[in-house]
């Protein structure tokens, strides 16, 4: 990337954009000798481990201490995570292992907060049980596979007077915050956004069913107790109705949440969609889904498309915001961020944003040089839009800023970037996609459908 600003400037610009919390907060927790936030993890699978590692990398002075971990897969997830936490004993972490979350909540009496990374259909029960014990909750998306349950999670949090952060981690990613605050709002480089598109495509190889090592099976009675028919269903719950919601929920949710956020937390007035179990065998949820939303905004209607595939990974994952003067392409994937000026828009219009350091010009537009009054016309290649970059990089593990935002909100220093109410709006958007596919028709939505 050209015109990269140096490290010191990066720190100041990212702090200005709302990042850099980590450095500040570590110093804060250390300097003020604050009471530790004691946490537990329920659900120690891949996502739970991602959250745990992001927290461990906050270091020994983070002021956040693991006390316990709970997972029903004793010989798999639970063993692995408990072992890692034990290795971090010197940081003050403890990996007391539980299979039963109720037993954990009874015995671990000094908890302040719980991270929940279980299958979607367990989120509401786990979250509400934690609120009933007076604990704050960080719950992975999707909030729930049922909107009634998602609503109950928000209500239980309000009743307990405790925080509920939903794991749409892009909401705390400094690059995304920068795009929303600086590029879209402050500099208004896109002008009126008319369309959004986005995708998360994965290769067939990335989507084959997960197995488990011989001898590590969960006892059948435990599986049944926790709502699973057998090990294959436990390992691949995302594909089953009543358990997860398929790729539109697993992946699309993150990105459709950003659609809404960048439109000023707008909610759509309708959704139509197509999808099906076209490729994979023995799956219940749609292995490909394509959705179209209509978002009424103050500046006018925005049409947004979203697509997720499990057979071809072409172009990976990104979100593309198209305005009548510019385009923003952003992805959580490291380094992907491009801003294009429409060829007809004069360079001078974007110069103030460049002078302020909000964006840097990487490649100027190539334009025909015919001027008004010329009696001949230059004929050459089509004009290409100028490419600009944002002077900000994601330097922390992806989920770390969102977790820090949760912990700092518990300490009263920040406000949640994705409270349950916002998570609910996103849950409505993606669960309605599945509903629209099943119904085979456009579903109209009212603003009150998004309220708890």
């Amino acid at each position: 990337m050209n015109n990269q600003i140096d490290r010191r400037n990066f720190i100041s610009s990212s702090a200005a954009a709302g990042a850099g919390f980590m450095i500040a907060n570590k110093a804060l927790a250390q300097a003020e000798g604050k009471k530790d936030i004691n946490i537990a993890l329920i659900g120690a699978g891949v996502q739970g481990q991602v959250l745990m590692n992001a927290i461990l990398k906050l270091g020994k002075n983070s002021g956040v201490k693991f006390r316990a971990v709970c997972d029903i897969w004793e010989k798999g997830n639970l063993r692995r995570v408990s072992r890692i936490l034990t290795a971090y004993k010197r940081y003050g972490h403890k990996g007391t292992a539980y299979v039963d979350y109720q037993e954990m909540l009874e015995k671990e009496t000094d908890l302040d907060a719980v991270l929940i990374a279980t299958p979607d259909f367990w989120h509401a029960r786990h979250t509400i049980a934690c609120f009933e014990k007076g604990l704050h909750v960080y719950c992975e998306k999707e909030m729930s596979n049922s909107l009634d349950d998602a609503k109950n999670m928000v209500l239980a949090g309000r009743k307990a007077g405790k925080l509920l952060q939903i794991g749409h981690q892009r909401r705390s990613n400094p690059r995304y915050i920068y795009c929303n605050d600086k590029i879209i709002n402050e500099a208004n480089l896109l002008n009126r956004i008319t369309n959004i598109s986005g995708q998360w495509h994965r290769s067939r190889a990335a989507c084959v069913d997960l197995g488990w090592p011989k001898g590590s099976d969960i006892p059948v009675e435990t599986l049944k107790k926790y709502g699973f028919d057998d090990m294959p269903q436990f390992r691949n719950w995302r594909w089953y109705k009543g358990k997860g919601g398929g790729p539109i929920v697993d992946l699309g949710s993150h990105q459709i949440d950003v659609y809404s956020w960048f439109l000023g937390n707008a909610v759509p007035s309708s959704v139509m969609a197509s999808g099906g179990v076209d490729y994979w065998k023995d799956h219940e949820w749609y292995d490909n889904a394509i959705a179209i939303f209509e978002f009424p905004t103050k500046k006018g209607l925005v049409r947004a498309t979203y697509e997720t595939l499990t057979t071809n990974s072409s172009n990976g994952y990104y979100e593309l915001f198209m305005g009548d003067e510019g385009t923003l392409l952003i992805s959580e994937s490291a380094g992907r961020g491009e801003i294009y000026r429409e060829s007809w828009v004069e360079e001078s219009k974007w110069d103030p944003a460049v002078q302020k350091g909000l964006v840097t010009l990487e490649k100027a537009s190539v334009k025909a040089e015919t001027k008004a009054g010329d009696d001949e016309v230059d004929v050459r290649e089509s004009a290409t839009p100028a490419l600009y970059r944002m002077p900000i990089e994601m330097k922390d593990p992806y989920h770390q800023p969102h977790l820090v935002n949760f912990f700092e909100s518990i300490r009263g220093n920040q406000k949640l970037n994705c409270p349950g109410e916002i998570g609910y709006e996103t849950a409505v958007m993606v669960l309605k996609v599945n509903e629209a596919i099943a119904a085979g028709r456009k579903i109209e939505l009212k603003p009150e459908d998004f309220k708890v």
């Binding site: 010191r8 010197r90 490291a334």
Partner: protein, 298 residues
């Protein structure tokens, strides 16, 4: 890393072996996101961006890998060095062609090279860079580290009878399939790939190869001011584990024959093959050198 991993697994249940392989590949992806210098929020990128005095908290894997890198730096007396980024920037231009650096540039590169330039805190899984601008690259050892982690997963899945290939240049034998003497391995002449230098059965441990492609330059971090060294066109190292083999094949490209011979004598289970600079080779060619006891039983 940014490399391709392949697994050979001997098991009667193909679907089960495939699922185990999938779990192993997922581990490689995870390690890549922790250790790649091409990923802006990896541990290594965070370490490379850190200012002197700033403590960088690392994941266990990166920490372990850095510990092993330090150990191999010491064992090879500085020939294997993960801090050689500045050194290469000094001697090579953007196209990786040789350039003539000024004395001042060489001095500066030398100040930014060496593992004494960072501290690893054994108690706290963190590192601290002591000089600004040191560039770490786990490329030479991360591959082997990931291969070892893949082997752990395969063992967990009871798929021990397997072979891990990392980027075609490192091979780790987890264990030998029933009825076989070992995993058949062949080494080719880097200058003439149609020439097979040697074939043998790998019964345990790992072998790693380093080669110098045409026009490629190798700088010895122990003699920075001397510029590129040219001892051999290829070096292979055998060792008990893939991390050691990876580090040694890099170091052996810079070692003299005597140094390699001494190393193999002092470290049992280590062996080497060195291909000389130019020309067609065959195993009978005296220029094709073997070191270590391993070859006596081969």
């Amino acid at each position: 890393m940014a490399t391709v991993y392949e697994l050979y697994i001997s098991n009667e249940d193909e679907d089960y072996a495939r699922q185990g392989a999938q779990a192993a590949f997922a581990e490689v992806d995870r390690l890549e996101s922790e250790m790649s210098r091409f990923i802006s929020n990896s541990d290594i990128s965070r370490l490379n961006a850190a200012l002197p005095g700033q403590v960088v908290d690392l994941g266990i894997d990166t920490f372990e890998c850095l510990m092993r890198a330090k150990e191999m730096f010491e064992k090879t007396r500085g020939a294997f060095d993960i801090s050689i980024g500045a050194l290469y920037d000094c001697w090579l231009d953007e196209n990786r062609s040789l350039r003539e650096p000024s004395l001042d540039e060489v001095r500066k590169a030398s100040e930014l090279t060496g593992l004494e330039l960072f501290k690893l805190d054994d108690d706290d899984f963190c590192a601290e860079v002591l000089v600004e601008g040191v560039k770490f690259d786990l490329g030479g050892i991360g591959k082997g580290y990931a291969a070892e982690k893949v082997a752990e997963i395969l063992k967990e899945w009871s798929l021990e009878q397997s072979l891990v290939l990392a980027g075609a240049s490192s091979v780790l034998c987890v264990s030998v399939p029933d009825g076989m003497n070992g995993w058949p391995v062949r080494l080719r002449n880097p200058d003439q790939p149609s020439d097979i230098l040697i074939r043998f059965d790998l019964k345990e441990g790992a072998i790693s190869g380093s080669g110098r492609k045409k026009g490629q330059h190798i700088i010895d971090p122990r003699t920075i001011e001397a510029g590129p060294v040219e001892y051999s066109s290829g070096a292979w190292a055998l060792a008990q584990d893939a991390i050691t083999a990876d580090a040694l094949s890099t170091a052996f490209m810079m070692f003299t024959d005597e140094e390699i011979s001494d190393y193999c004598l002092a470290n049992s289970g280590t062996a080497a093959i060195i291909a000389p600079l130019d020309g067609r080779l065959n195993p009978a060619d005296p220029a094709f050198k073997k070191f270590g006891q391993f070859w006596e039983s081969c």
